[in-house]
Structure formats: C-alpha cells, structure tokens
C-alpha cells in the first residue's frame, strides 16, 4: 500500500460531520491487543496497519468478521459497546482503525487513553446510552447499507430513514474538532514563555 493512497483522506482541519456506512463490533472491553496485536507494533511507521486491524479476530472468523465482510468495505463509522480500546496506550490501535477507513466511533464508553489517541488523529468518539447503542447496533446489522450522517455540532446521528439518534460528544473535543484544533502541538507551542515560568517554579527542575 502506498502512502499516497492512504494519507490523502485522513482527517485534516475542521471536522463538521462524518458521513458513511457503519460497521458494528459488538462486545464490552475490547482491548487494544485485539484491535492490533502486539506483533504488528514492530514497525517504525504506521503505514500498512489498516490491513492488520483486528488481525487475530479476523483470522478466527475466516472472512466473516465485520471488517472483512464485502458489504461493509468502505464503512467510516464504527459502533461499539462499553470500555472500547482498553489496555495498552498504543496509538497503533486508532491508527489501524483510521487506515482501514474509520473516521468516527460511537459507543457506550471508551478507555481514556484510546479516546485521547483518537482525538489526536481527528476521530470523534461519541457516546450514547446502553439501550440506544444496542438498538442502533441491531438496526445497523439488519440494514448495513444505510448512509449515516454524524453531526459534530448537534452530536447526533441521522440514519437513512431519517431517524435521529441523540449522542454525546464532550464539549472540549467537540470544539477542538469543529475548529480544526484537535492536533494539540501548535497550541502547546504557543505558550512557551508560560512553560518556561512553570519549569522555573518547580524545585526538582532547579536542583531543589
């Protein structure tokens, strides 16, 4: 896979909405070792991780895993259950999902490091109640061809029947994604004199 093929459509700048079909991965506590098994971390670039996402689960289901199903290719929304992305801090996990095509995740709850790693890539993680995630998943499994429209401003999901699902998106990430400032580096670099002052005030930086 060439870098040009994969990087062209990665999130960039302000994100108002995520459009597209959805793939459902059911189950609580799906950890990052399952999203991207450790043997694939042996790399010095993230290129190519898209093919290895959920590698062991996919091998086990030989072609029947949602990420292999023909009708779900090209999906951009991932719908999951509770505590998705727990375990390791590896950014390889959201990187692998992103390189497969995922641009937004909806779930009941997320592990914190995973949530932050997604935000750093411009991938919003929306939450919804236990009941509405389950019924959304049921509906998507029954009708996988639906084109969804996830709006960041209203934190809502509209399915192709026009039904509106109310989700939640934390205010901070919402604002960062909508303004295109989800990549923190430039913001952090903007406060260099304050940073110097903080460092100077810390006893351990200055030999006590």
């Amino acid at each position: 896979m060439t870098a040009a093929m994969t990087t062209s459509s990665f999130p960039l700048g302000p994100i108002a909405a995520v459009l597209g079909r959805a793939v459902v991965i059911a189950g609580d506590d799906i950890d990052t070792d399952r999203i991207i098994p450790a043997r694939f971390l042996k790399c010095v670039t993230f290129d190519g991780l898209g093919e290895q996402v959920f590698a062991d689960d996919r091998a086990e289901l030989s072609g029947e895993h949602p990420f292999d199903r023909a009708e779900l290719q090209g999906a951009s929304v991932l719908v999951v259950n509770r505590n998705f992305g727990c375990g390791s801090s590896r950014e390889h996990a959201p990187q692998a999902l992103m390189r497969w095509g995922i641009r937004a995740v909806v779930g009941e709850s997320f592990a914190e490091i995973f949530y932050g790693n997604c935000l750093a890539l411009g991938i919003p993680c929306f939450t919804a109640s236990h009941a509405s995630v389950l019924s959304l998943q049921d509906q998507l499994i029954a009708d996988p061809d639906q084109e969804l429209n996830l709006s960041l401003a209203t934190a809502s999901l509209e399915d192709s029947r026009g039904q509106l699902w109310q989700l939640e998106l934390q205010a901070g990430p919402q604002q960062m994604l909508a303004s295109g400032q989800w990549d923190a580096t430039s913001q952090l670099l903007a406060h260099d004199s304050e940073l110097t002052r903080t460092a100077e005030s810390l006893p351990y930086i200055n030999g006590f």
């Binding site: 189950g27 010095v44 091998a59 390791s88 990430p173 400032q181 580096t185 940073l195 460092a199 351990y204």
Partner: protein, 471 residues
C-alpha cells in the same frame, strides 16, 4: 471535586495554561521513551521541523522488542534491529540520554526509571506506555500516552490534559504471608472492575499500603490502569525517601534535605477531599489468579470459576466468551488447572523482591516435567543484584531458564511467546486474548511466587502451602 490531595497539588504546580476546548496544558517533568511508541513521534517532529524542547527531561531505554536469549547485535529479527537502530539514531540526533543494552542500566522503562532515581515524588511523568502508572508509587502523577502525545511532549515538554477525579482506595489490615501487592491489586480490580477507574486517579492509602515496600507499591500502581484508572499513586513517606536516597539521579547533599521537605508537603493532607472512597481489608485477600480474558476476571486460588448465576448480568457475555476461550468450566476450582509455560518477569513483577519471593519457592524444588519455566529480570541492575545473591543459580537448579532483561512474554514482541493453545502462569499484567504471542494462547495472571509454585506443581496451586512446608 477533590481538593488538597497530592493529585490536586501536583496538578496545580504543573499547570502551564488553559487551552481552547477547556483542557489544561500540563508541564511534564519526566518523559520516558522506548523503541515501540517513539519512532513515529520523532518522524512527525522531523516533518514539522521541530526540535526537542528539553532533551534532558527525556530518557530512553530499549525493552519491548529485545531478545532475552542473545542480545548480540544485529538482532536475528531485522525489524527489531531496525527499531532499535531508529531509537539510537533519534536519541543521538536530539541529544536524549539512552540507557542501552550492556550499559548496566538498560531494562524495562518502568523498572529502570525508579531504580536510577529518575522518578521522584511530585513529578509529572509521561511515557508512551500505559503502565506508566507504575511511577505513581513515588507520589508522582504518572500516566501513559499515545504516540501523538509523545510527539507533543518532545516538542513542548507539555501535554493537553483534562483533570481526573480522585478516588481514595483505603486498605486496612495487613496482607497475609504468601499474599502480595499483585494479589491486592488483582483483588481491587476484581471488585471495582476493569472500567471502574475510568475518569479517576486512584490514591492508594491506609495501613496496608503504608506497610508496603517500594517495589510492592510499584506493582500496585502499575496495575491501576488495568482497573481503568489512568494513574494511581501512593503518598510519599519515609519508605519512599529511604528507597531514593543515594540513587544516581536522586538529589544530593543539601538538595536532598530540601527535596525531602518539599516531597513531604505534597502528600494528601488530613483535610483532603476525595471524589470517592472505597475500602478494602487486606487480611481477607487470598492469593489471586485470573481465570478469564480481562484482569478483572480474578478469583482467590481457593475459589471456583464463577458461574453465570454468580456473575453480574452485564458481565455475563464476557464471562461466556472467557469460558469458551480459556476452556475452563464454571464452578470448577481454579487450583489444579494445568499450565504449560511459567513466566516470571515484566514491569509488574520483574524486580529483585519479586525474584526473591519466587526463588524462595523454587529453592530445593524442581519444575514439573514438560513445563517451560523462565525468569526474565526487569533490568540489568535487577539481574546483577539477583546474580550477586545467587538467585540465578537457585532458579537454574530448579529447572527455570534465566534470561536477559526485557519485556519478553509480557507482550511477546520478541521471540518469547506462547504456541497454539498453550496456557501460561504469568506474573505480568494482561491476560487479554492473544496477549502472549499466540492468537489462541491463554494467560493466568498471578504473583511471581504463585507462578513459581505453578511451575513446580505443573498446575495452579496455593503458594501458601509451599511456603509453610519445606521441600
């Protein structure tokens, strides 16, 4: 909202600015890097044309991919060699100190930073590895970060963070002989769940915690993340200071006195306010073993694998998945479960006292036929100290392999891995599906002494029985 806790004080001291979006820019006092989560961060830095803001506040080592049999370069695995060479090049390009193989100071990042005295009370510590929570044992606020954040810390020595709530975990009583910090933390996670700590920092306190040695406190804080808490900490006290004094990077002379005074003042005060508190009784905890596929699926070694009826309704799907994957029957005792591989090591339990506890069990006994058992010290310093005490000989005579330091079969990025459906007794921290290198491999987490006992018996057994009897 919490107030007056160590977490609040350290947070306030490290605040740089308020960021758009409501998060806080937090100064990072110590940044630790290794070969797996740093190469893409350095690549991004180069792309952006940025320098490393404070190279002296970042420290590197190699741990995840290093082989534990021969560490001669180049490694047999060309990808592992490339990762190590990339780290070496990045460190030399940016002036970052690297404690490499053979330096006498190499080892698992969460083992070497404490033993070098780099980790100190009151610091903020970040590392591209979720078990960074380990460093909280010193009264530091320490958390794992992703690669984009590694780039941010390199570029700005700071991170964009949201403040956590603080839950105090108060532990009364004392752990019984044969019961260790590993059992305590597995028990806590069993009760509070693997997501019970999401949104929280865990403060571990109470008589049982005060009585823990530093290495045990590290084991405890190491696994805070397995309970969902991004960081866990213990207030610094005399035990902390005694551990730190004289270590290479610890403050010296008059600086030492001033440091101790400052550190003391950081501990949560008597009037500290917590968002939540949970209490445990240490004396009631048995050696604990996981039976399932998350660290929360643990039971006392004298218990039976929980049945569906004994499982909370919303935990049942996971329990069913675990029965299937682990091939364990609900209602059967966990003791007696046959094992194939026994692994002693990792950033959870690869320190000297862990090896001492395991060696005490192994001494004068022998690994059961057909069992592969190996010991991987957490660092070169741990290895040297263990050899000086003759622990390597005790292990070898008992039929264990004695290896070179590294992460090894904790995550199996190196050649140490399970094969097929093998089942391991492991002193590491994660029993996720496929964690130890085989997509169908199975892991039972337990203390290093319990792993040694399992190696001798060839099956899970209660180490308390071996401690109380001579071989």
């Amino acid at each position: 909202m919490s107030a007056g806790t160590l977490y609040d004080k350290v947070w306030d001291l490290h605040r740089v600015a308020q960021l758009p979006g409501g998060s806080t820019q937090l100064f990072i006092g110590l940044h630790l890097i290794h070969e797996v989560t740093s190469p893409q961060a350095f690549a991004a830095l180069k792309d952006l044309g940025l320098r490393v803001r404070l190279p002296e506040r970042t420290v590197a080592t190699v741990d995840h991919i290093v082989p534990t049999t021969s560490q001669a370069r180049p490694f047999a695995d060309p990808l592992a060699e490339e990762m190590l060479a990339t780290l070496e090049r990045n460190c030399s390009d940016y002036g970052i100190p690297l404690h490499g193989l053979g330096s006498g100071r190499q080892g698992i990042v969460h083992v070497i930073a404490p033993e070098l005295g780099l980790t100190q009370p009151g610091m903020t510590v970040a590392c591209g590895d979720s078990h960074t929570s380990t460093h909280g044992a010193f009264g530091a606020i320490a958390f794992g970060i992703g690669t984009s954040q590694v780039r941010d810390v390199l570029a700005s020595q700071s991170l964009s963070m949201g403040k956590l709530k603080v839950r105090r975990i108060w532990v009364e009583g004392q752990l019984q002989p044969g019961v260790y910090a590993k059992d305590l933390v597995l028990h806590i996670i069993r009760v509070l769940g693997v997501k019970g700590g999401v949104g929280y920092a865990y403060e571990f306190a109470g008589p049982a915690i005060d009585a823990l040695a530093m290495e045990e406190r590290m084991t405890l804080c190491n696994m805070a993340i397995e309970g969902g808490a991004r960081c866990g900490y213990v207030n610094p006290d005399a035990v902390t200071f005694a551990y730190l004094e004289g270590r290479p990077y610890a403050p010296k002379a008059e600086g030492w006195e001033r440091a101790v005074a400052w550190w003391r003042g950081l501990a949560s005060g008597a009037d500290a306010v917590f968002d939540d508190e949970v209490r445990f009784d240490a004396a009631a905890i048995a050696p604990t073993v996981t039976w399932g596929i998350t660290p929360g699926q643990g039971i006392g070694v004298d218990e039976t694998v929980p049945t569906l009826e004994q499982t909370e309704p919303d935990e049942r799907p996971l329990a069913q998945e675990a029965y299937r994957y682990m091939d364990l029957q609900p209602g059967t005792p966990i003791a007696g479960t046959r094992v194939d591989v026994c692994f002693i090591g990792s950033c959870t339990n690869g320190r000297l006292s862990d090896l001492q506890a395991a060696a005490a069990v192994a001494k004068g006994r022998h690994v059961a036929p057909g069992i592969k058992a190996f010991v991987v010290p957490g660092s070169e310093q741990v290895a040297a100290a263990a050899v000086a005490e003759g622990l390597d000989r005790v292990f070898r005579e008992a039929g264990f392999e004695w290896r070179e330091p590294g992460c090894s079969m904790c995550l199996a990025m190196n050649p140490d891995r399970l094969e097929g459906r093998q089942i391991s007794a492991s002193s590491s921290n994660r029993n996720f599906k496929g964690r130890q290198g085989s997509a169908s491999g199975r892991t039972l987490l337990m203390s290093p002494a319990m792993v040694a006992a399992a190696a001798i018996a060839g099956k899970v057994c209660d180490v308390r029985q071996m401690i109380n009897t001579t071989p």
